[in-house]
């Protein structure tokens, strides 16, 4: 908000002598994670521009990995420096919060992205074309699918190494999103990580029609929802006269403060406040994929290149829920009694709808999409606890969930047949007989989704439900467990398919991945098990990080 604030003060002090405009005070050190990532992204663009084609892949990969690792290190540094707890404060002149939740979520996002980048860089799965190993991205996104240009591009062995900087941009946005401390920053961050994602969706090497369609849908609906978000922001601004979280919260807290009667129509007008809040919430709910704003999820998850889907499913949820938490806990706590019941409703239909619709899915990626919707519902249950337990449980759940998702989609990339990935469930029949290991790993992820004890899924579920129950929403918990019982059904279905049904003759083959994907999956399994068996350390972490700075 630097600029806004300064200009504002200028306006007020127009009378006295113009002169020294005080430069904004930015704590670069504390913003370092974001800055590192975005800087790397810019570098990446330059690399694309100036490096010869053959050396780009490795450079980009190295660059992004180093950047993300460095950013993560920075986050750790900040956390160690106590910015998560004692020294938590609002940086960049009120634009960005540096506090526990922000750092925890940024850390999670960075780790997830790091792992995701591995899957992006995977080049062993697709059969080598013309002697060159290729990844799962289009040779030349601009070329018409099946057209002459594309064939040439393929023959020339082009690859879209741009994905790396694009991902970095997205990550940058995601880092800001949960830390945004005023509505404008929120909006900008949203766009900054959405636009790259739209692009990433179009880049699939196989089934490009689906890929492009997914992008279109995602883009249109995303833009549509962000328009609502923006309008909501406008209304809130109209209500409070400011867009800083603290400012709005203040106004909300002590209701209509005395202002000149001319503005009585707007200032402190609850209608503005409520409608605005609702619209902003809608914008965020769209991103987390809560019913009824979830339509994009299945289509986009299915159409997008699987590594992108994994990244999106994991990282976007983390970022969006972070923003949602901050909004509800920092901006609108005074409004609790208004939004809680509404959000309860949203949580319930999200849990139920997600679980129920998933039962009849036939495509593994769509199945996971719906399961992610159901999980959004579970997380909402934690969000609504409006207690520190609620925050910490959500943080923990997000961490646990994102790695499971990433791992699951990584496994999906392995199961392939002539037409690329074999995502239709019928193709997965008897996978357990063909390659028990892969099937077993996938089963672990599914069980984690289902929330079977001794997996991270169970710990997370228990945490959020516990928080909900303690906040007095016991019936929400009951509905939650019921819908997870329904959800269990389709996870089990997949396991049955993999282990108990005879393998088909023309079944898919399981490609042997490079160390990159292997690492990704391994990390996924490790996190799933560790957080399932010995979650205490991470619960503590989330616990310490569960205080928002105001």
């Amino acid at each position: 908000m630097s600029s806004v604030a300064t200009v504002h003060s200028l306006w007020m002090t127009a009378a006295d002598a113009p002169g020294r405009i005080p430069g904004p005070h930015i704590e670069y050190a504390q913003l370092s994670p974001t800055l590192i990532v975005l800087g790397a992204a810019v570098l990446g663009i330059l690399v694309e521009a100036f490096l010869p084609r053959r050396s780009r892949y490795h450079t980009q990969l190295l660059l992004s990995v180093v950047a993300l690792a460095a950013a993560f290190a920075a986050v750790i540094g900040l956390a160690a420096g106590g910015f998560g707890t004692s020294k938590a404060h609002v940086a960049a002149m009120g634009a960005i919060a540096v506090d526990g939740p922000a750092l925890f979520l940024q850390g999670t996002i960075l780790l997830v992205s790091l792992v995701a980048v591995f899957t992006f860089a995977e080049r062993r799965l697709d059969p080598a074309s013309h002697g060159k190993r290729v990844d799962s991205f289009a040779a030349q996104a601009a070329a018409v699918p099946g057209g002459k240009a594309e064939q040439e591009a393929v023959k020339a062995g082009f690859t879209t190494t741009e994905v790396f900087p694009i991902v970095l941009f997205a990550v940058g946005g995601m880092l800001v999103f949960p830390a945004a401390n005023d509505l404008l920053t929120l909006f900008i961050a949203l766009e900054v990580f959405s636009l790259p994602l739209y692009i990433l969706c179009t880049l699939a090497r196989r089934q490009r029609l689906l890929s492009q369609e997914a992008a279109l849908k995602y883009f249109l609906l995303g833009a549509f929802s962000s328009a609502f978000l923006l309008f909501g922001i406008a209304l809130l601004y109209g209500y409070a006269g400011t867009v800083t979280y603290a400012g709005i919260a203040e106004v909300v807290a002590d209701g209509a403060k005395q202002i000149d009667p001319a503005l009585a129509g707007t200032m402190g007008n609850d209608a503005l406040l409520l409608i605005g809040a609702a619209l902003v919430l809608m914008g965020l709910l769209f991103k987390v994929g809560a019913v009824p704003f979830h339509m994009w999820t299945p289509d986009v998850y299915q159409g997008a290149p699987t590594p992108v889907t994994g990244f999106m499913a994991a990282a976007t949820k983390v970022a969006a829920f972070g923003a949602l938490l901050r909004l509800l806990y920092v901006v609108l706590p005074g409004l609790r009694w208004d939004w809680r019941p509404v959000m309860w409703g949203v949580a319930i239909i999200t849990m139920l709808a997600g679980a129920i619709v998933a039962i009849t899915q036939t495509d593994i990626k769509r199945l996971l999409a719906y399961s992610s919707i159901a999980h959004a519902g579970f997380i909402l249950a934690g969000v609504l606890a409006t207690s520190e337990d609620g925050i910490s449980s959500v943080l923990f759940y997000l961490a646990a969930y994102s790695f499971v998702t990433l791992g699951a989609f990584a496994v999906v990339t392995l199961v392939r047949d002539a037409g690329g990935e074999a995502t239709h469930l019928s193709k997965w029949a008897g996978l357990g007989r063909r390659s028990p290991l892969v099937a077993a790993v996938f089963a672990v992820f599914l069980l984690a989704f289902a929330g079977i004890p001794l997996t991270s899924g169970f710990a997370g579920k228990f945490a959020v439900f516990k928080a909900a129950a303690q906040s007095g929403a016991g019936w929400l918990v009951v509905i939650g467990v019921l819908s997870s019982a329904i959800a269990a059904f389709f996870y089990i279905r997949v396991i049955v398919l993999m282990f108990f049904s005879e393998p088909k003759a023309d079944g898919p083959t399981v490609a042997v991945p490079s160390p990159l994907t292997t690492t990704a999956i391994a990390i996924g399994v490790a996190v799933t098990v560790v957080l399932g068996v010995a979650p205490q350390y991470f619960l503590d972490l989330a616990g310490q990080a569960s205080v928002f700075v105001r």
């Binding site: 609502f228 009824p292 129920i356």
Partner: protein
């Protein structure tokens, strides 16, 4: 001395274990081992008996406590034996007759390749039966009670390859189980009433509790007795039980096991004495059964089934006597013992006949056999005379006493019961004479080409002779200055009944009816030849051939009804209980199918839904505030 008691049970038990687990290598010596152990048990019994006679009537009861069996809370069941005069009587009967029948079986089962197992089962039976009569508490008695049930199941179904045998065995066990439920409920009642179910305390405490409870206990005990002793209404199994080898019929279904009911009632005398209603029920059951059995006995052409009917009826006498209370207990037991002798003898005789007639059981295919198997004829004849109560033989003394006691019940009841008993005596005479005539007299109705009747080997005849001797003299011995009564008196207590008729009157009446019955039989089967195929006969006859339709009743009501019930339940379990579960799953599937239609694939419909959602969201938020 009391430490020997366990030995009584142990000997046959060891035998059973040896023979059943021993495997083929014991096939040769198996039957000898079995017999030896049975005899050993008898020897021990004899020793104990001698010792007991040496003591004064007061302290003859012995007691042996092995270990605490089931201790849970206030529930204390011990594995402990008690040997008093009553038990002693039974022990002698069981081991004695048992040993004889073991010996008999050696010959009888000679050609059966599973003889070893047969003897194993016999030993098992002895052990269980002895446990039953030696137990010092009802729960242990229950063990023996079901044990003999198992043994009889195994032995009835010994020729398992015959479906009829297997079915009969199953039937016997099931009907017995119904009775056993009665016993177990009785035990539970005792536990809740007295806090224990050991004979001593329970029987001592009958005074301190309400008659209602006691009546309930008594009726439950009666139910048990009915099951085991084939009394109406649970008598249906005994006839079919004749599917078993004849020695089995002799030992289990004539001499010992079926009399367990009488033992139970006599043993629980104190309870019944304090519960007149229960007593009355006992008497009625006894009277009804003694007529029922007798009538059935008249109509059967299968020699064993005829004898089975007679058994039923004779036990009816005992139960009747036991129901009369202190005036009857002793006579009940006495008749039980004498009956043990002659009925066993009769069965063995029948067995010997069948042995000689290649297992033909239809009396209409017999005739004039006295010439071919004299020993059998004589022993059987003596048994016959005994059972019809021919003056001077065992049956006369015991049965006569019971009839007298029945009259002594007093009032109209007395007359009715006495009359029934007399009638029973007459019918007994009739059907036994019938059996006698059809088997040993008249012209031969068998084909000399196929069957060559011959006398049985020594192993079979000797036991028959011994039993015959018993059935001749036992009654007389017992009645010498009421030896038997005074022997049992300390246990069962005895009162002299005051019959409206004088003893002599009763006796003469008995003899008269006896002669009438026998004469009638001679008129029907002695004078004119017996048709080789049964005539259609009167309605009653036909009913009697079918056990007075009692089986048909069971079949229609219980079996059919049960089948329908189970079939319905199986159906409901599938369609209703399970259907509910699968139903929910199906519903979910359907719901899911309908919901996913919303995902139409058109961006604009998504947008519409989002807008709608937004609208709802806003509306709801405003509603919450009530703006």
């Amino acid at each position: 001395m009391e430490n020997l008691i366990a030995l009584l049970v142990a000997a046959p038990l060891v035998g059973a274990a040896l023979l059943l687990c021993g495997g083929k290598r014991l096939d040769r010596a198996g039957h000898w081992i079995g017999t030896l152990l049975a005899v050993a048990s008898f020897a021990v019994a004899a020793v104990l008996f001698a010792d007991m006679l040496g003591k004064s009537a007061g302290d003859r009861a012995l007691h042996q406590h092995l270990f605490s069996w089931i201790p849970v809370g206030g529930f204390r069941a011990d594995l402990a034996f008690q040997l008093d005069q009553l038990s002693m009587t039974f022990v002698l009967l069981i081991t004695g007759v048992g040993s004889l029948i073991h010996i008999y079986s050696i010959g009888y089962m000679e050609h059966d390749e599973r003889r070893r197992r047969f003897f194993g089962y016999l030993n098992l039976f002895l052990a269980a039966m002895l446990l039953l009569v030696l137990a010092d508490n009802y729960l242990l008695l229950y063990v023996g009670w079901e044990g003999v049930g198992l043994a009889s199941y195994l032995l009835i179904g010994f020729w398992q390859h015959k479906p009829s045998a297997a079915t009969a065995a199953k039937k016997a066990f099931l009907v017995n189980r119904v009775g056993d439920v009665g016993l177990s409920i009785a035990i539970m009642l005792m536990f809740t009433t007295f806090g224990t179910f050991a004979f001593g305390p329970v029987l001592a405490a009958t005074g301190d509790t309400g008659e209602g409870k006691l009546t309930a206990i008594g009726l439950m005990l009666l139910l048990a007795a009915c099951g085991k002793s084939a009394q109406v209404p649970l008598q249906s199994w005994l006839g079919d039980a004749m599917e078993g080898p004849t020695p089995v019929s002799a030992l289990i279904h004539a001499a010992t096991m079926v009399t367990a009911g009488v033992y139970l009632i006599t043993r629980s005398g104190a309870i019944f004495n304090a519960a007149p209603d229960a007593q009355m029920a006992v008497v009625v059951v006894g009277a009804v059964t003694l007529l029922f059995g007798a009538i059935v006995g008249c109509a059967k052409d299968d020699i064993k089934k005829a004898l089975a009917g007679s058994t039923m009826s004779q036990i009816g006498y005992m139960i009747l006597a036991a129901g009369l209370g202190p005036i009857g207990y002793a006579f009940a037991i006495m008749h039980l013992v004498t009956h043990g002798f002659f009925k066993a003898g009769l069965f063995l005789g029948a067995g010997s006949v069948m042995h000689g007639m290649n297992d033909e059981v239809d009396m209409r295919r017999y005739g004039g056999l006295r010439r071919y198997m004299p020993v059998t004829f004589i022993t059987f004849g003596l048994g016959y005379l005994a059972i019809i109560g021919f003056p001077g033989l065992s049956g006369f003394f015991s049965k006569d006493k019971i009839i007298e006691a029945a009259f002594a019940k007093g009032g109209t009841e007395g007359w009715i019961l006495g009359g029934a008993a007399l009638l029973g005596a007459a019918i007994t005479a009739f059907y036994m004479t019938r059996v006698m005539l059809m088997t040993f007299f008249g012209e031969k109705r068998w084909d000399p080409q196929e069957v060559h009747p011959h006398e049985s080997p020594k192993t079979m005849t000797i036991p028959m002779i011994v039993l015959a001797v018993g059935s001749v003299f036992a009654g007389g011995l017992f009645s010498i200055n009421d030896a038997f009564v005074s022997w049992l008196e300390p246990v069962t207590s005895f009162e002299h009944g005051h019959s409206p008729l004088s003893a002599t009157a009763t006796t003469t009446a008995t003899i008269v009816v006896l002669l009438v019955g026998a004469g009638l039989a001679w008129l029907m089967y002695g004078r004119k030849p017996v048709p080789a195929v049964a005539p259609r006969g009167s309605l009653l006859t036909r009913a009697a051939r079918r056990d007075l339709l009692q089986d048909d009743f069971n079949h229609v009501v219980l079996v059919r009804g049960g089948e329908h019930l189970t079939r319905t339940l199986v159906y409901l379990d599938h369609s209703l209980v399970d259907g509910a579960v699968n139903g929910t799953a199906a519903t979910m599937g359907g719901l899911s199918g309908r919901l996913r239609q919303l995902q139409s694939g058109f961006v604009r419909s998504y947008a519409v839904q989002m807008l709608g959602g937004a609208a709802v969201l806003v509306a709801a938020t405003l509603l919450m505030r009530g703006v």
